[in-house]
Structures are given as C-alpha cells and as structure tokens.
Symmetry: D2
Amino acid sequence: MKIIILIHCPDQKGIISSVTGFIQNHSGNIVYLDQHVDKSANVFFMRLESDFENVDLELLEKNFNTELADKYAMQWSLHTDSKKPKMAIFVSKYNHCLYDLLSRFNSGELPVEIPFILSNHPDLKYVADQFDIPYHYIPFNKENRAECEKKQIALLKEYEVDFIVLARYMQIVSGNLINLYPDKIINIHHSFLPAFAGAKPYHAAFERGVKIIGATSHYVTEELDAGPIIEQDVTPVSHIHSISDFINKGRDLEKIVLSRAVKLHVHRKTMVYNNKTVIFS
Amino acid sequence: MKIIILIHCPDQKGIISSVTGFIQNHSGNIVYLDQHVDKSANVFFMRLESDFENVDLELLEKNFNTELADKYAMQWSLHTDSKKPKMAIFVSKYNHCLYDLLSRFNSGELPVEIPFILSNHPDLKYVADQFDIPYHYIPFNKENRAECEKKQIALLKEYEVDFIVLARYMQIVSGNLINLYPDKIINIHHSFLPAFAGAKPYHAAFERGVKIIGATSHYVTEELDAGPIIEQDVTPVSHIHSISDFINKGRDLEKIVLSRAVKLHVHRKTMVYNNKTVIFS
Amino acid sequence: MKIIILIHCPDQKGIISSVTGFIQNHSGNIVYLDQHVDKSANVFFMRLESDFENVDLELLEKNFNTELADKYAMQWSLHTDSKKPKMAIFVSKYNHCLYDLLSRFNSGELPVEIPFILSNHPDLKYVADQFDIPYHYIPFNKENRAECEKKQIALLKEYEVDFIVLARYMQIVSGNLINLYPDKIINIHHSFLPAFAGAKPYHAAFERGVKIIGATSHYVTEELDAGPIIEQDVTPVSHIHSISDFINKGRDLEKIVLSRAVKLHVHRKTMVYNNKTVIFS
Amino acid sequence: MKIIILIHCPDQKGIISSVTGFIQNHSGNIVYLDQHVDKSANVFFMRLESDFENVDLELLEKNFNTELADKYAMQWSLHTDSKKPKMAIFVSKYNHCLYDLLSRFNSGELPVEIPFILSNHPDLKYVADQFDIPYHYIPFNKENRAECEKKQIALLKEYEVDFIVLARYMQIVSGNLINLYPDKIINIHHSFLPAFAGAKPYHAAFERGVKIIGATSHYVTEELDAGPIIEQDVTPVSHIHSISDFINKGRDLEKIVLSRAVKLHVHRKTMVYNNKTVIFS
C-alpha cells in the first residue's frame, strides 16, 4: 500500500531522522522524501511517500501521534491511494477549462471521481452530457443567493465531495462554503496575480499595456483573488494584440494552469501555511 | 543613407499607399515597413526604414510635412544613422545592470556614446574607471535635492545627452527632469508591473507567495512605476527560494530586460501613446 | 468583403508602393500589412488584409496579374472570408490533441468545417461521437497500405477537404498524399525539432538528460519530421521526471502547439519557402 | 561548520533513515535534504546540508565509510565551506560570457577564486586587466597543440585549479585534460542540445527555420557536445531574425545559462551518472 504523509511543524533538530526512523521501524520503505524549511517563518515541511505491506493503518496513526506528532507539535495528515477523491466542478458559461478537465479525466490523467458539475447557468449542460456527468443547474440572483448556496452545500454533502474546482465559475463563493472546504476550493484567475485581481483582468492588462499576460490558480479564501497561489504561468503579448486576442491566448493559459493545480492537489503535493503554498513537485 | 521615419496619426484610408508612394517619388527604397492600427483608440502607427542615395534631408522633411503630415494630422519624426545617440547612465549601488550595459557597449552591441555615469553614491566609481567613463558623484539629501537636480540637468545639457538609463538608480526622478526628457528616461523595475510597484518588490512577492517573478523596463513618467512598459520578462520561483534567492534570480532578469529596452529605444523601435508603447520588433 | 492577399517574389524596389497603390486604385482599404524580406535569400513576402465593398473578384485577380504579378514575378494567392476551409483530422489512439481541436471548434475558436475524422484504429470513435462528427475507420497493414491510401484520398476528394491535421496520427504519410496537399498537411511532433526526430522522442530526451522538452508543429514533407516548422514550444524538466512524466507534460505542449499552428494556417498567416515558414503574427 | 555530503548508490531500503541517523548521532543538524531515485537505473542520490559544531572531520569521514558507505556501496563526497574552489576560465575572442562571470565574481555572487584566465588568443587580455586577473596567452596551431596543452596542465597544477569554465573557448579539449578534470570542465554550447551540436549552431538553426533557439551548459566529455547537461534555456525567434539576430539573442542566453551552471557546480548541487545530471536546486 502506498502511503503519503504530509507534515508541518516548528523547525527543530532531529525531525527528519525521527520520521524516517519511525517509517523504518514500522517496516515501511520510503520511496520519496521532500522536505523544506521556511527559515523566515521557522516552519518545517515534509512530504513522505512510502510503501507498506500489510500495515495496520490505525496503529500506525496512533503511534505516529504518540511518538512524533506530540513531541514535535506536528500538524500532519495521512493519505492512501485506496480511494479516489471526489471532485465537483463549478462552471459558468466558458467551456474551455471544463473541456480540458473532462478530457483529461476521460484519458485517465486525473485519478478522481466527478460526481457532478454545477452551474448557475444552463449553458454548459451539453458538455456534461457529452461526458455523461450529472449537471446541476441552480440559478440564483441577489435575493435567493443564500438559499441557493444551501442547495449547493446539500449536493456537496450528499455526494461526499472532497474538493471543488471553480473552472471559470465567475461567482464569488461565500464564507460558509469556504469554511466547509478550507484549502479545498481551487480557482483559476485570468491574470498573473496579484496584478489585475477582480473583474475584467484582460481589459485591465490591455489598458496598462503589459507585455506579458498570465493566469493563476489558487485556493479560495474569503478575500477575493488573494488566496494561496498554487500555480502560475504567463505568455507574451504585444501591441498587436487586442483585448479579444488577450482573451484567446489567456484561455490556453487558464486551462493548463488550472489542470496543473488540480493534479498537484490530487497527488497531495500542496501544503498551505501563512496564505502561501509549499508545492512538492 | 538609412532613414527611419516614425509616424502616428488618426487612422484613415490611404495612409500606407500615400507614404510608400512618397518614399518612392523621392527615390527612396523601403527596406522595412511596420504598421499597426490600434482599433480601440483609432490610431495608426508606422515605422519605415528606407535607403536613400544623395537625399536632401531638409527638402524631404519639408515635402513630408506639406504632402503628408498636414493632410493626415501626423505626428512624425525622422532619424538617420549618421550620429550615435548620447546615453547617460544613472546608478546607485548595484552594479549588475551597469556592468551589463558597459560590457555590451564595449562589444559594440550598443551603438551609443556614453558621456558619463551619474550617481548619488560613490560606490560604483570603480566600474566606471574599469571602462574609462567619467563618473559624476552628486550626493544629495532631502534638503539639497532640488539643487542637486540642477547640477544633474546642467551636466545633461553640457554633454547634450539624448536619453537617460536608470540602471537601478533607486531614486525618484522629478517632474522637471521628466519634462526635459519625455519618453527618454528608461527605468528598470524589479517586478512584473503592475504587480509590486514601489519599494521592495521582491519582499512583497515573497510575502504573497507568487510562483513567478519578473522585471519591467518602462519610460519614466511622474506617476511612480506607472509609465509606458517597453519590455518585461519573468522567471519561475518556488517555495524553496528565499528573498535573497529572489533578488539573485531577479538580477539576471533586470539586466537582460533593461538592455533589451535600451536596444529597442536606440534602434527607434518604440513609439509611445496613451501611456502604452508600440514596439516594432 | 475582407480579402487577404499573400505574395512572395524576388526582392526589388517599389513593390510595397505598387501593391498598396493597386489596392487603393481598386477602392480597397488596407487593414493590415505585414511584410518581410529574407535578405539571405533575396525574397520579398507580403500579407495584406483589405476591406472591399462591391468588388469584382475576377477582375481584381485579372488586374493583379497584369499590373503586378507579371512585372514582379510574384507567386500570390487571394483568400476571402466567404467560405470556411474544410479540415480533416487524422488520429491514432491518443485523444488529447483531438479533444483540444474539437473543443475549440465547438467554442467557435476555429473557423473551419470538419467533414470527418479518420483513423487506422477504432479507439477514438467515441470522441467523434461525443462531438457528432463522422469517424472513418480505415485499418491497414503493410500489405494493404496503398489500397487504404486510395480510400483516404477518395474521402478527401469526396468531402473537398482543404487541409489535413495529423493530431498524433503516428503513421507516415505517403508522397502521393503529400503531393495532393502541399503545405496543407499539419503535423505535431513531440520534440523540439530538429532534436529527437523519428520515433519515441520522449524516451530519447530522457536518455540524453535534457532539461527542456518541446513540441513542434510543421507542414509535412516527404522527409520525416523535416518539413517547414510552423510553431514550437518547450517546458522545463528535471531529473525528477520519469519518461511518463515527460509524456504527460508533453501532451499539454502538443495540443497547444498544434492548435496554434492550425489557427495560423486557417487565418492565412503562414507562407512557405525554402523549407521554412514566414509566420505573420 | 557547514558540511555538504553527496551520495549515490544502488537503491535499497533504509538508506535515508540510516544516513539521517548517522548525522544525528554525530551531533549534526540537517539543514537541507534532497533525495532522488532514478527508478529506471535503480540508483539512489542524496544531497545533505548539515551544520556541525566542533566536528572532527577525519573521524566523521572514517565513521561514514565504516557505518554507511561500505554497507550501501556508496560513492560519496564531503564538502565544507572553509575553502573557496579555484576556477580557471578559458576563453577565445568573445567577451560576453567572460564579462558576465567576472562581474558576478566582483559582486560576490560567485564564491570562488579565479587564479587566471587562459586563451589561445590575445584579444581578451584587456578584460582580464580591467578586473586585475592574470591572463595567460598560449597560442597554438595543429603542430604544437600537444605541447601547449602541457603548458595548460602545468598552469592548472601550479595554481591548484579545482574546475575549469570554458566561456566560449571554441577549442576542443583533449582527453588528457578531461581525464584530469572529470565532471569538472563546464562548457557553454550555443544551441539547445542535442540539436545543432558542433560548429556554427546559429547558422544551422537559421537554415532549419526553428522558432526557438537555445543554449546548453554541460560537463565536457570526450564526445563533442555530448556530455551531461547541467542547464538549458531558450528564447523565441521568428522569420524576421537574421543569423546575426540569432547570435545577438543567443549571447544573452549563453551568459545566463553558463553562470547558472557555474553556480550550481560551485554550490555542489550537481551530481553526474550515466552521462546525465541530477541537479538539486
């Protein structure tokens, strides 16, 4: 059985040898170890991939707590590859990110289940139909927003969704939902944040006359477009490009950057602290 | 004789054929023609490189005004390769951009004259000495800033400086100087503007947890770090990089981006309007 | 009516003004002019986008030949936006490029018609079905290859296909087909050509220990992977990446690079000479 | 005292915990651990940065051999920061890489000593003079090549040179010299290897019509331009660029890529096996 352990704690002497010794004592074989110390914050991070035969998971967790977590004040989590995470996709009217995610899903590139796609518009139902995935159309306006969110949350609970991908959802997600899915809602913003946060970033980039545009995937927090950045990429532009050229070029960035972020999340390669990420590539 | 003509005017029918006909009627041979229309602003831009034998420059300019510029309400300028432009370099304490400019100058890569290097610190005099270029050390503080600027301007006039490069000058340039050199002062800012304008951009980028850092070269205007962007470039970073890693990686970006911008300016490949640039590559 | 004219001919004086004058005399308005001279080959290239009202196309072509093409020994072509080009897609077993093309097609990003998808494998029929596009499965082996090619050519003629996209087709195209579609068959090769031409480029790249992998889209010629390059892009790799990581990362390059090349071709922004391309962006 | 240990050996269970335990038992504190397994070759790699107070280096090395290296069949090396490595620079007539290295050296960015610069041409003596570094001019021709190499080797021995940087040296280095400095001669080649190995890569790239050019820094082996790649980078080009544009753009790549490779080598972040590198960033 493959086990991934993610750890962060105050930096101190001896953590690496204690953890690696623990794995060996429990007959695990370390396949990959990534470690990082943020010296300015004095925090230690570790991602450990190990192979175990016939492991008693419950006992392993108990011993880890007793022998390591308590001693080093660790926050930690353990993940196995026995169950695919459930990913809900929220969309609006743009289909490029959705198509990209679904075609990867179809190719086996994304080891997830997709219980449903959700939208406040009916426009992309045809894409969901193409891939035989349920499409929940929950329209809302200023008045019934809270009520609709309840429906969303009910769906997420019913399907035991593990994380949410906002594939150009274009709607602000409320604190209620964010608190239910901390560091588990992945958004794609169509600018190289922190430049051009908020609405119409391509228009703002065109106005400013930048020579490079970008896209940013980040975990959603209550402050708009200000959550921990998972992945960014950019592409050159010039005076010859109109706003609609920016939008076209940006689409290619958005879908690639979002898919990379989703893959990093699914493979447990992201850790969050201080509104930043550690990405173990 | 090689002649470069830069034109911009309201967009309208027939400009290209009128201008190219004019060149032909004056026995010029068009070597390169670059043209652009900003449809959102309805402005036409053109850069024309032509070869002329035995041309009467004065007559050419007079005819251009009569036959073309008046008719199309053109703003235009004519440049020959008979005289190298004079470039002053302003520095502070960082030597990487200065070394990069001077080594290119020494290799013949930059067709300019460098009458002097100017600084409010004595630190980089040794670099100027290495390359046998006069170094003017004009220290200043809050009290004598205006007076020192007068000295700067006197030097610029004395040496008939055509344009100024701020090679990590780290000082705010006053409106007086900017008005004397409109679209002729080139700065390098160590972020991908408009993100992280102002002081300590690498610290701010680290704090925000971006996955890409950048550098931006722009013409200086009165609003800090908000002038027309000439050139930008970026490089990936990750959680493993400290602020000092950002600074080190950034140095390589800064010097390359600044040198590219200086070359574009020297070869008359930049045009400015609406606080943006048209860059004819 | 929008008209695009592509010209190449030996470089000589006066071409630009003659052509732009011609357009004006025929009451056309030049919207965009791109021009290039390859000095080493002494060849002049031009792409001209013009707007015409009530133009007599036949007369325009006749006059162009008489007044310009004969005089300057031009090879030229004229394209209008009145008819969408017909694009056939040839595939094998990989679906990522096909999904990318079809989702762009569905979004209106690719102004083409897609009369059919063709393959020597049945594997991707489900994708064609998702998008309601006919799928022709023509299996072949060493013995019946020539015969199958006849079937392919019959289909291409029946549907009046204008150009062919090999979306990871993985088969060598014969000279017969290439001669029917000169500079009209677009391939994607999964390396930064000319490095790693031929089979299994990701394996070869891994073996060589490169730090960058790439993808190349090119027009197909009889020499394998040696045709005129339309578009290339790259992505960094490191020792941590296995061959299967290369393949995964490469997929994202392949689909983006191929789609960019297809768009350039569709918008008549490519010209071919000396086994190279001029790409008017 | 900071100690860096580099290890590679056949992959097997328990290595990480054994090594980290060893460091802890010797009162060292692990500051950074990087580890990699090449599964296709079944080789384990590790780079370990540790802090020690009052360590007996000789004893540490002896114990490492007894307790670890013998058991796991390790090849390993230990490096301290107590002595700066001595770097000789070989040049020909191009000054851009030399200027870049020396300006970084001058800024304290490269923690090395530079005992001398060596060339078969007198051209760059003025650069060496600018930076007060001895310049050895050893001209040679086909006849006296072997003799001259003896002089080179004598110099390298006299100054106890640790590694050699070929900063556009443009000469083939003999097997004698390579064997004296295995994985310790760093070259910069002006193409994205393996494309365009050998002479005149920019000419070949222009001829092929590529849309991207590159530079590659690698350790020198007896097969020309085929040694383990340390670092590569690329930049886009198009039909508008002439060979001399390629050369100009390439210069910026060459100097940045070479300097990055030199820094990686100096900081002991490179390991070589199977003609490839592991680069611990």
